[in-house]
Symmetry: C2
């Protein structure tokens, strides 16, 4: 299949591009390098020394003989570049990662809120409008987030996108229907993903665009078999307070002798997936598209749930690192349960990588290997969800 990856330079996009290329798909990448530019803004770098795009692609071609074309433009604002590329490349599938993906970054200031809303919604709408204008039948595979559901659902298992509800009518009859799961986003970033869902539902209904929305958990791990081939192919590793995600942050904090920073009580339960499963899930989604005219297919792309404090204790027991409880910058419940349905990807053949399987060592190795590149000042989370609330930055100094 011909697959266009929007956002193919990012943490999930890059290993996805290589994996799909490795299994024989014809891949092209679009990216405006926004993630590297945000590193410049935040004065931080990936812990791993990621190579420039041309070096990455030359290394991939050297190892595999396969060239991946790269188009540098902004999907949200350069519509005619996108339209032209779609018409020329004629993809069977477009994987849409072209969104600002950090919740804390989206809450840093009014400018960050506005950038996240404008970038994410205009990118999604431009893609869908371009597919309609080009008159193509393209399967859109979008990276959503478990965060669209919100957390804390009274012990109920979170279904895959749709919820069966009963409504009492005026004359006392009960009507049963399936609705999009009522969204409850916890940040501006998560909000944009709930608004994306409405865009997808509309274009699937009006224009019969085929869409798969993958509601992904928190990704852990760094490398895939493809990014491990050559240091020039190394994937990015974010450890800073904005883009670093919880488990990778703990492993990296342990590697540099920093206490494991748990926000609040650590009683939050979250869904997780390993980066190697992310790329396989996307392959599975691409290779079995929904039929034209079908409603949006929503899959929960996660493999296990853990309480944050349990992850901290696990990493602490493996490494001897201390745990530091700091104020939670997020406006969220201190404690929650989380049960998630993920039957569809398992049925498509996913064999999950679990925390138990020793891949924690891979992340620890990466963190150890590049520990000298770490700027300790960048570890604390500094975004405020609301004026007057704040993370315990001072406590960690």
């Amino acid at each position: 299949m011909r697959v266009l990856i929007l956002g193919g330079d990012g943490f999930c996009g890059w290993p996805t591009a290589l994996h799909l290329s490795a299994v024989g798909h014809e891949v092209a990448i679009v990216d405006n390098l926004s993630r590297r530019n945000i590193d410049n803004e935040l004065e931080v770098t990936s812990l791993t020394p990621i190579a420039p795009m041309s070096t990455r692609l030359a290394a991939w071609e050297a190892h595999t003989g396969v060239a991946i074309p790269f188009h540098r433009f902004d999907v949200a604002t350069q519509y005619h570049r996108l339209l032209g590329l779609l018409s020329e490349f004629h993809p069977d599938a477009v994987v849409h990662f072209a969104e600002q993906r950090s919740a804390p970054y989206s809450m840093k200031s009014s400018a960050h809120k506005r950038y996240t809303v404008a970038n994410n919604l205009n990118a999604t709408n431009s893609l869908l409008a371009a597919i309609v204008e080009a008159g193509l039948d393209v399967h859109v595979v979008h990276l959503g987030t478990m965060g669209v559901y919100g957390y804390g659902t009274a012990g109920m298992k979170i279904p895959e996108g749709y919820l069966r509800v009963k409504v009492e009518t005026d004359d006392g009859d009960v009507v049963e229907q399936e609705i999009l799961y009522p969204p409850n986003p916890g940040s501006i970033y998560h909000l944009t993903k709930t608004q994306d869902q409405l865009l997808f539902a509309y274009y699937a209904k009006n224009d019969e665009i085929r869409v798969t929305d993958l509601h992904q958990g928190i990704v852990w791990g760094t490398q895939t078999p493809e990014t491990s081939l050559d240091e020039r192919l190394v994937n990015r590793f974010d450890y800073d307070g904005d883009y670093g995600t919880v488990l990778n942050r703990f492993l990296m904090q342990a590697a540099v002798g920093h206490p494991l920073t748990v926000h609040g009580t650590g009683g939050q339960t979250r869904a997780f997936i390993h980066i190697r499963d992310t790329v396989r899930c996307i392959q599975l989604a691409i290779e079995s598209p929904p039929a034209r005219g079908e409603r949006v297919r929503i899959l929960n792309q996660m493999t296990e749930t853990h309480r944050v404090q349990d992850l901290a204790k696990l990493v602490s027991s493996l490494t001897g690192a201390e745990i530091a409880y700091v104020d939670n910058p997020r406006n969220e419940a201190a404690e929650n349960e989380l049960f998630v349905e993920n039957r569809q990807l398992l049925d498509l053949g996913l064999e999950p990588i679990t925390l138990a399987e020793g891949l924690l060592a891979e992340v620890s190795d990466i963190a150890q290997r590049y520990r000298d590149r770490c700027d300790l000042e960048k570890i604390p989370a500094r975004s405020l969800w609301r004026a007057g609330t704040g993370p315990g930055v001072a406590a960690l100094g």
Copy 2:
């Protein structure tokens, strides 16, 4: 109260500004004149000869002694103008009309879809982000649409924004909860209003912004007591296929001897409200704001429902005009029932103006008076909801 009207030059915004000024509020207007500019693009003008903004405001001041300041900028893109104005004017309420409001216009082309999404969502988000950044406690009153609900709800009365549902849990218990009514938008324009709802819900939850969302029916009528004071204050009257709304279009078609163009069977039932009730509803909403921290207050701003074919027959019987059934450009059900709850505005004191009350004559008088300004070529609806479907433009020449 100090009230800032975003979009105060438009069909609803202008009479709202005058009405709120007349009842004693301190009003200021923001507008980028986008509606007049779209007239230029569509090569059409308001049937009524609307005066330039400075002439309008000079006439209002001449009649009442009250000056209404006017700020010409784009809420969606000129954030710092908006932030500065909020900080300086310190409004108690902001009435947000600053959105592209035509469903057919939003479907004309990819460019129109992208403009509508970018304008409407960035305007709403900028307003909310600016209120947070300015640290103000402002009541946002937003013009939503009955179209967020979709049409055809199995005979059920549409509630005001929230739906009580029952969900069966995994262990067979039944949990009851109230959710935002599951949206079912019929155009890109309507879609943006369903996405606005998620913005409002998020900022109401995270930042305790007070929001009232008025889900308005189709507005009919032209003039209010204030816009009737002086011809320089006359309200706009849209009769074209994009911005003209059904009842006003019928009355105007009758006035110029054009057949009444009914799309499809005319079996669609729609909710209506007179422009004089619109401005009173907004006054009622402003004068009883929700408490800080309360969820978004959603009111259905409509007073009666009618089947389109019945309206055509009514106008035909009053005027002798013929009825022409043409293809429906919209991707929608041919026939639907519609029952709507509107208790909250009635409880606040609204005394509805109904079709029966002779105000049809006001619209007919306006249409007769300015019939020479009509361009018959602009009457047919020419937007296509989907490639390959089309309105019966040819049939009408």
